[in-house]
Subunit: 453 residues, 2 copies
């Protein structure tokens, strides 16, 4: 409502079960089965809402990741979790991940429209293509479809979904009891989509939802991934370990957005940060070191080796990475994350053991141990220097890391005028300052009037 | 806990948006958009829980049914609705419909396991094969797969699902922080399923849920449908318009259950009843007549004609059904419902208009207008005469019809000792008196011990 609005940053809380650090569950304070406890997620979301966060977010993949010995690996389905969370919160946005490779558009579009209704306009979809042969093998395939082909399917999947979400015009429902007409059937459209991957007749069996459709979020950062994001997404999660890389990514993606004719201000870039916060720097570093000590290097080495198409023995723990690693082109999984990890190890000359320590926290995201002021300074610095429109906050340990952020960092950001002190909107799109999308099937009423005169 | 337990009946509340009568939304009392309002479903479930019902149930199909002009046609996805309901209730079971023809087992098994966790063991799955070309056309097909083939896929779908639900043994999670072992990987199994319709590696990414797996419910009543129910289901919904037909169905299904080696007492048969209740018989009949008057016959005739593979003009409103209707064999949709409707019309010599009036209420289920005592008498009569283990209560108008049932019929059933006065169990299986299923992958511990001695 202010007449000279200061640019404000956005905050998303990335809720990863017991914390983003893989050893978080081993801390004395942690409930090691909280990943299956809906009360845990509800309480985390309530904490984030107390901190006026724009949204909470749940990652996902339709597969049992890694070795169940290593850490809590059971994951409830995100739209189910967020529906339960919606009942216990009022304002905060709810972003669920779902795969375009292993779902049908009709089912998924409907599920997100339903979540948008149930939450009163707070649903968001993190669109992922799902890397990995293990996921593919749960869906009749022997191996993951090629990276390029996954993104082609994702593009058509989103096209079909927006058509389905638009298949009811906003004013289709008249609910006139006297004349016995519930909806105006001229405003409910079959979509008759026929493409390379999908053939879908429509209409959706859910009318247009409060936000029109869920906020579209994406996190690809390969070339194909960035092009997809530029074309479709409204918010972008990304892992950027240094400010320079963050600035380059930010500029690159905003250029791509402009190049496809969209407004770069309406695509928000949210790098991840894994803050380990304590009242003194010393305590923060101590907590970080304790978490590193709790990692079991054998599990982590196995996973790292799989990412590199190597055997674990080819990665001696106290040596640097071998010189002859495959190039990004040879990786069909998460290409950009692969390159990021190799670059990080080479740049900082890390041994495999050290690299594992770094990845155990943020898996390539910027980890940062420090005081509340130091964390706020970093956030402000990135925000003011063309690297971020906001941040994806990935606490190493949950719930304590999120509570600490909300109680100690948020007030500093608020004092500096960088972050809202209360919600002014009721929908997820509203929090991010994004418009409700127009309906592609709605007749242009004004122009009809004009041409009829 | 009693030593001579009286046989008790079970009650399920079939929540159909604004009521089972297609014209319910036109009554002055009705909110015509309640079908999209989560508070409506929450309040209905709370009413059913106040009445100590075993469960609430939501039907579903992944398609926009019928003409959106005719009645409220938008439907939120059932597992989303029931997750929100679970947060606002304590004990009542939550049964969602989902299609085996248009889902992937990995995704659906996970969704139901998640609902079972979130609700503390209250999830049930109404397994349907989804008739109709219009649904097929939302999933890349031109027409519905053949009836037989849909049931074959359904059988394999349930086999894959139970394997996935069993892929974690109940004691797989050890969560030992000291030795850094979260789950015992020897108790987490790949399933390596390879069949005619599905190839699924597993394990599921959700551990075994409170009930082991959701209560399996089914409602087929063709020959294939009854065989499927006998083999897989634990509770069976069915439309039986007369006591004799109800008894024949009951005996037939229990025989089939015994024939496949299962215990007939552990498969509960729940015919549907559409009670229109008022304090006097006259008032009840008046309400029924008012609802019939509110039906628009043209929409209904169109739907009836489609069921018979005819044009609407071939069904004059004030004549009986034509003699030369197709036989059940020629129907690829809902075979048994087709036959039921034809038999009803012929038996009672109904005109098309009269038939439409009858179907508008219960679509072939037993409709019954009467006083609370009359409704309770009917229920008791069916229950004591080998036609039912309980009832699927399908109020013509919601919420008022459910409130009336809970406040006036339930107390009578309780006084007669036929129905619980409070919950004694916490899970859906518990309410229905059914055991938690054994895990097909669990090593027989006792026999191992014996052979080791
Ligand atoms: C913060 C963040 C969250 C992500 N969450 C998921 C997820 O939940 N599921 C998934 O399959 N991929 C997830 N990804 C991976 C991305 O979708 C993408 O595959 C990855 O960044 C590699 O980019 P590329 O696919 O363009 O190569 C995430 C990435 C980031 C940065
Ligand atoms: C009470 C009841 C509820 C039903 N709910 C659904 C439903 O939600 N979705 C669906 O596709 N079919 C539903 N059906 C239809 C049955 O699943 C089944 O297809 C039908 O009874 C015909 O039997 P058949 O398939 O063996 O021929 C229901 C049937 C009954 C009796």
């Amino acid at each position: 409502m202010s007449s000279s609005p200061q640019r404000r940053l956005h905050l998303n809380a990335f809720l990863m079960a017991i914390g983003h650090h893989e050893a978080a569950w081993r801390l004395p304070e942690s409930d090691p089965n909280a990943n299956l406890d809906i009360k845990h997620y509800i309480s985390l979301a309530q904490t984030a809402e107390r901190g006026k966060f724009d949204s909470v977010f749940l990652a996902d993949s339709p597969v049992l990741f890694s070795n169940p010995e290593r850490r809590p690996s059971g994951k409830l389905e995100p739209t189910i979790i967020l529906t339960a969370v919606s009942a216990a919160t009022e304002k905060i946005g709810l972003i669920a991940t779902a795969s375009t490779s292993y779902n049908e558009p009709y089912n998924l579009a409907r599920r997100f429209a339903s979540l948008d209704f149930v939450s009163g306009g707070r649903a968001g979809w993190n669109i992922v293509t799902t890397a990995g042969a293990d996921a593919a093998q749960n869906f009749g395939l022997d191996d993951t479809p090629a990276h390029r082909s996954r993104y082609e399917r994702a593009a058509e999947f989103v096209d079909v979904s927006t058509k389905l979400w638009d298949s009811w015009e906003d004013d289709a429902i008249v609910a006139d009891k006297d004349v016995a007409i519930h909806a105006d059937s001229a405003k409910v459209h079959v979509i008759e989509h026929e493409g390379r991957f999908f053939k879908v007749r429509g209409p959706l069996n859910v009318p247009r939802s409060p936000q029109g459709y869920p906020l579209l979020v994406q996190a690809g950062s390969s070339e194909d991934g960035k092009d997809f994001a530029a074309r479709y997404s409204e918010a972008i999660f990304t892992a950027q370990p240094t400010l320079d890389e963050g600035k380059a990514f930010y500029a690159d993606v905003k250029d791509r957005v402009a190049a496809v004719g969209r407004d770069p201000e309406q695509v928000l870039i949210l790098p991840g940060i894994v803050p380990v916060i304590a009242d003194t720097e010393e305590e923060a570093l101590e907590l970080e070191a304790e978490l590193e000590r709790l990692i079991s290097p054998e599990y982590a080495r196995k996973q790292l080796a799989a990412r590199f198409n190597l055997e674990p023995e080819q990665l001696p723990l106290d040596e640097e990475l071998p010189d002859d690693l495959p190039s990004e082109d040879e990786i069909e999984g998460a290409k950009s994350r692969y390159t990021l990890i190799v670059d990080l190890a080479r740049r900082e000359k890390l041994t495999v053991r050290q690299l594992i320590g770094r990845l155990g926290g943020g898996r390539g995201h910027r980890t940062f141990a420090g005081t509340p002021v130091q964390v706020a300074d970093t956030i402000e610095h990135w925000f003011r220097n063309g690297a971020a429109d906001g941040f994806n906050i990935m606490p190493a340990v949950l719930p304590s890391g999120l509570e600490k952020f909300v109680d100690s960092v948020v007030p500093i950001l608020q004092e500096r005028g960088l972050f809202r002190t209360d919600y002014t909107e009721t929908t997820l799109r509203g929090h991010y300052g994004l418009p409700r999308p127009a309906n592609q099937f709605a007749v242009e009423k004004d122009s009809t009037l004009v041409s009829a005169q």
